[in-house]
Symmetry: C2
Subunit: 332 residues, 2 copies
């Protein structure tokens, strides 16, 4: 198992990428990691660590894709960028998966250019795993690859998400929900009302109905579908609300010394919860519908997040997700 | 100052409506409350309390609009419903504002039918107040009245929201943000990209740019605009995340006795925060763009929420919001 890691994706690149890769190899999560990017910078950074030189190697790339770069154009213009080289390593069979914490739109474009879509899939999507009040996470898609969708797209997101959940989480027949503004079938905008019809008619899906925003973290749904605009807004809203609640709680706890002592005693409970809700624990988000395995991480990922994303990439490859997706869409 | 209250709106109607009205009068929030609904039920409920009989009266209505009723049809079919009678009392000048915790779509339809739109406003909207990490709330609109919008609608939401914030919160020149998936002007779906252009060109608005989901509770924006589908999903997501965080925290705190003692010591901090984030503290949501004052409350409102909504209704009437809106759109 070999993972290609774009070493120039995070806000603090290449430090989290290099450290995360070192930890992944130390924990034996995969056999080999190929760090992609400027070889001088990467070698200097790697030299700070003790590690098995046979299991981490550098693949040189002179350019870097920035967050503000225009996704579709940049992958054609920056052919020698670390991101483009990362997906090419996977395409050429030198790596079993490609991982980047850079511009997710550009990563989708680069992946599409390198290995294309699965036949039968019209719009690949990005699926994020969310913590829930139960043990098992829920996945939300699309989280931003397709900002304007039609009902057919949402149906395919549900299909891809169900395959993902079935094989990556080993839970067959996942419960699919359509993110909407009410539980009744007649609720919603033009898009979701039409999508409801399609999802209800899809016999091979376990569509259990509309899901309202307040149920996203409830664990009652496994696969939650929406267009990429709504998904992206919701994902960032969840992130912001969790941060705001902890910030407000901290401020309150620091206001009086009895509450502060209480907080010290309760510290393990807080830190467990923070960890549970922390996106860095969830590894990366998977690009679905591609003829390859691309994992995208949050730009603010730290070494732990990168390491978890490498673990997630390995698990995804082992699950045979791409092949299962191909089989599904071939049979249709 | 007289407020007409639909006494059959909440899930537990008419108990919260009656008790909330009693408290509002006891706290002298307004001069008179007209409770609208079945007179026998309401009289029996009122008889449980001591109150000033000159300041709370019953206005009989035999029907009740349900949450699953189709909004546009029901207001024409259930002419003798408590909701329709409530708006009529305001229309006829017997009350200065109408308040309901029932079906918000139906309440919008009933209000439109009774007093119509302000000239120049094409789509009235519902604005909710949200708690932020700073003292002052932010308002989000539309929160569900218009699930499919065009860019012009979003521009009007920004204008109505700015007038609301200026007069109801007495903060002129409120900072307007467009809810979007990135800060850059080129980000977004077809709707938000076009709306960005219109908002940037509107000289009388203090448009400060796109706002991502993670900033909604940050207090950096006063008026946040989006279509009603996104607004409704976001609002319910915030509600769900806050509840999930507190539930998970409670579960963790109960797992070991030291953490539990800590939680007892920190209790005032938790309860302050819960109160701050509790939608019942925020009074109602205002229907903007109407030729009258309609306030809609959450269906799960308790007596405290109803009382706060009455206070909010009074403040809105006193602010002259409707007249200021009329003046604004007349000059355009």
């Amino acid at each position: 198992m070999r993972i290609a890691v774009d070493a120039f994706g995070t806000d603090k690149a290449p430090f989290p990428e290099v450290e995360g890769s070192i930890h992944a190899i130390k924990e034996d999560l995969c056999n080999e990691i190929i760090l992609v990017g400027d070889e001088h910078i990467l070698q200097a950074e790697l030299d700070k660590y003790y590690y098995d030189h046979n299991r981490i190697r550098i693949y040189h790339a002179s350019e870097r894709i920035e967050m503000h770069d225009h996704a579709a154009e940049v992958v054609r213009m920056k052919k020698d960028s670390s991101m483009v080289k990362t997906v090419e390593l996977h395409k050429n069979g030198e790596a079993d998966a490609a991982l980047s914490a850079g511009n997710s739109g550009a990563f989708m474009a680069a992946s599409l250019l390198a290995y294309g879509r699965i036949k039968g899939v019209s719009r690949p999507a990005i699926a994020a795993a969310l913590p829930t009040t139960i043990e098992q996470p829920a996945i939300l898609l699309d989280m931003g690859a397709n900002v304007d969708c039609d009902a057919e797209n949402l149906l395919q997101f549900a299909q891809l998400g169900s395959i993902y959940f079935t094989y990556c989480y080993q839970k067959p027949n996942p419960r699919v929900g359509l993110l909407n503004i009410g539980e009744e079938s007649t609720k919603g905008n033009a898009l979701t009302r039409e999508a409801y019809e399609l999802l209800s008619a899809a016999k091979d899906l376990n569509f259990i109905g509309n899901i309202e925003g307040k149920e996203i973290l409830s664990g009652k749904f496994d696969v939650i579908v929406c267009d990429g605009f709504v998904g992206n807004v919701v994902l960032k809203t969840i992130e912001g609300v969790v941060r705001a609640v902890f910030d407000m709680l901290k401020e309150q706890l620091e206001k009086d010394w009895i509450a502060k002592i209480g907080a010290i005693l309760s510290f393990p409970a807080y830190s467990f919860l923070k960890r549970k809700l922390d996106h860095t624990e969830f590894g990366g988000a998977l690009l679905l519908g591609l003829n390859g395995t691309s994992i995208v991480c949050h730009g603010s990922s730290d070494a732990k997040a990168i390491k978890n994303a490498i673990r997630f990439a390995v698990r995804t490859v082992q699950s045979g997700f791409v092949q299962h997706s191909k089989d599904y869409f071939r049979e249709r």
